[in-house]
């Protein structure tokens, strides 16, 4: 993967997430615009690059949130672990793949944040901390999943700019295999 392209993508994504904070909310649901990008990286990049890329995206997002630092880095690292395991079995460019994988990633991230909001006040003896909301977490994950195909439609067309490795053997019954490059 070309890390310069990744850095530019990360910069733009974080900037948009910061700028649109408060404008895209729909009731209690707030989208996480960085998550579809993390899913895009995790689906397409090689194993090590995918894990490192998702972790870095989370670490960068941690610098702009009010949650304890490290939370999103940890969450996106877990997301990367789950998604790379599913790489051989998914159609990487299909919008439904983007929706479902982003939904699962959103639920994983939401679960980690939910657990942190419950455990952190208990561990640090903070009184009157706000109670975490499952509903908020689920709605946010669903909202983000619905936005994922829209966001990733453009990124899929720019895959060459990221220099992901050649497609491996296609999923069962699929047609995405490309000739292996000669070494």
């Amino acid at each position: 993967m070309r890390w310069l392209s990744f850095a530019i993508l990360a910069y733009l994504t974080i900037a948009v997430q910061v700028a649109m904070g408060g404008f895209l909310n729909w009731g209690a649901a707030a989208p996480n615009l960085v998550l579809p990008v993390a899913v895009f990286i995790a689906i397409n990049a090689k194993r090590e690059e995918a894990l490192l890329g998702t972790f870095l995206l989370g670490a960068l997002q941690d610098l702009f949130t009010q949650q304890p630092p490290g939370l999103y880095a940890f969450s996106y690292g877990l997301v990367g672990l789950f998604v790379i395991g599913a790489q051989p079995a998914v159609y990487r460019d299909h919008p439904l793949t983007h929706v479902f994988v982003t939904l699962l990633a959103g639920l994983v991230t939401g679960a980690v944040v939910f657990f942190n909001e419950w455990a952190y006040p208990a561990l640090h003896e903070i009184a009157d901390a706000p109670k975490p909301s499952v509903w908020r977490m689920v709605l946010g994950a669903g909202y983000t999943a619905l936005l994922a195909p829209v966001m990733l439609a453009g990124l899929v067309r720019m895959k060459k700019a990221f220099g992901f490795r050649n497609q491996r053997a296609s999923p069962i019954g699929g047609h995405h295999s490309a000739p292996m490059s000669r070494i």
């Binding site: 948009v16 909310n25 996480n32 009010q66 630092p69 690292g77």
Partner: protein
């Protein structure tokens, strides 16, 4: 890098980040923030301005003036003056008891610096990113205001930017009082001091009063800051208005009052940070942030540079 070696490194990164998120207090780990926010402003700020135009935020701010057919500028000015008058009334009551503070009475703007808002929260927390930094004299726990009242406090300020925790953020607590605008001016309602707690999604609630204690409180009454731990300059500023009141589901004799700010604080364009307070820094901290010790507060008051304007 071999598979096994990378796995070890990645596992270490995951464990470290997880441990930081759960076990390290935010007053230590939060020092990483506020250093690079400004790097994203060249992209974030124009996008946010575009979002303002598309969503018509200016029109919602005008509607908050609650004046029907006046031009937008006049309506905003009237609302600003109402807020200033209510704040000045409350400050005058306090100053009658404190002779030393009499010379510092005046509009909050004289002791504040304006900063543009370049970003918002992530959906789980109500916060704002502003264009200021520690180089502009910003420090943690400074009060932040706007023409419509109190906005919150500076949660973190570094070389690259600063973040504000809004009063509507979950767990943000301040003590207030009820006021009502009458023909004779802003009148304080006699009740037990309400504890206003942020509930996210742009609203706050009061849950420490019984239905009997708030029988005189009506929808539309103002809730203003009345907390000794905040600088005197900002005491009396509006937190919001009473949106609704009802019995608490678990304790029917106790009331749950929903308070909503006059405008959606998450969509503010500009805020004022009070850099020269006359009293201690606000100690009404949210989860994870502890208030400075009294000695630290005195040092902060002596260290702040003179206020200057900034666009």
């Amino acid at each position: 890098m071999s598979h096994i070696r990378f796995n070890h490194v990645f596992l270490m990164l995951l464990v470290t980040s997880g441990a930081t998120a759960f076990f390290v207090p935010m007053e230590y780990s939060g020092r990483l923030r506020g250093h690079i926010d400004g790097l994203f402003a060249p992209v974030a700020y124009p996008i946010r301005q575009f979002a303002y135009k598309v969503t018509g935020t200016l029109s919602s701010e005008t509607a908050a003036a609650e004046v029907g057919n006046l031009p937008a500028n006049a309506a905003m000015e009237i609302q600003r003056l109402k807020t200033t008058i209510a704040s000045l009334n409350a400050q005058l009551e306090l100053l009658a008891l404190q002779q030393k503070m009499r010379e510092r009475v005046g509009p909050v703007e004289k002791y504040s610096l304006p900063f543009k808002v370049i970003g918002g929260g992530d959906g789980f927390r109500d916060s704002l990113s502003i264009s200021g930094s520690s180089g502009d004299g910003l420090e943690q726990n400074m009060a932040v205001v706007c023409p419509w009242g109190l906005v919150g406090r500076v949660a973190s300020a570094g070389q690259g930017g600063a973040r504000i925790q809004l009063i509507t953020d979950g767990g943000f607590k301040v003590q207030g009082s009820f006021r009502r605008n009458t023909a004779n001016g802003s009148v304080r309602l006699v009740t037990k001091p309400p504890l206003v707690i942020g509930r996210r999604d742009g609203i706050m609630s009061i849950a420490n009063l019984s239905l009997e204690q708030i029988k005189d409180v009506r929808e539309g009454d103002d809730v203003v800051l009345d907390d000794d731990s905040w600088p005197i300059l900002v005491r009396g500023l509006t937190l919001g208005t009473v949106h609704s009141k009802r019995p608490q589901p678990d304790s029917p004799l106790w009331a749950e009052i929903i308070v909503s700010p006059r405008v959606d604080l998450r969509q503010l364009r500009e805020v004022l940070v009070v850099t020269e307070p006359t009293g201690p820094a606000p100690v009404a901290a949210g989860p994870g942030i502890k208030a400075p010790a009294p000695a630290q507060q005195a040092q902060q008051g002596a260290r702040r540079p003179p206020a200057r304007g900034r666009n």
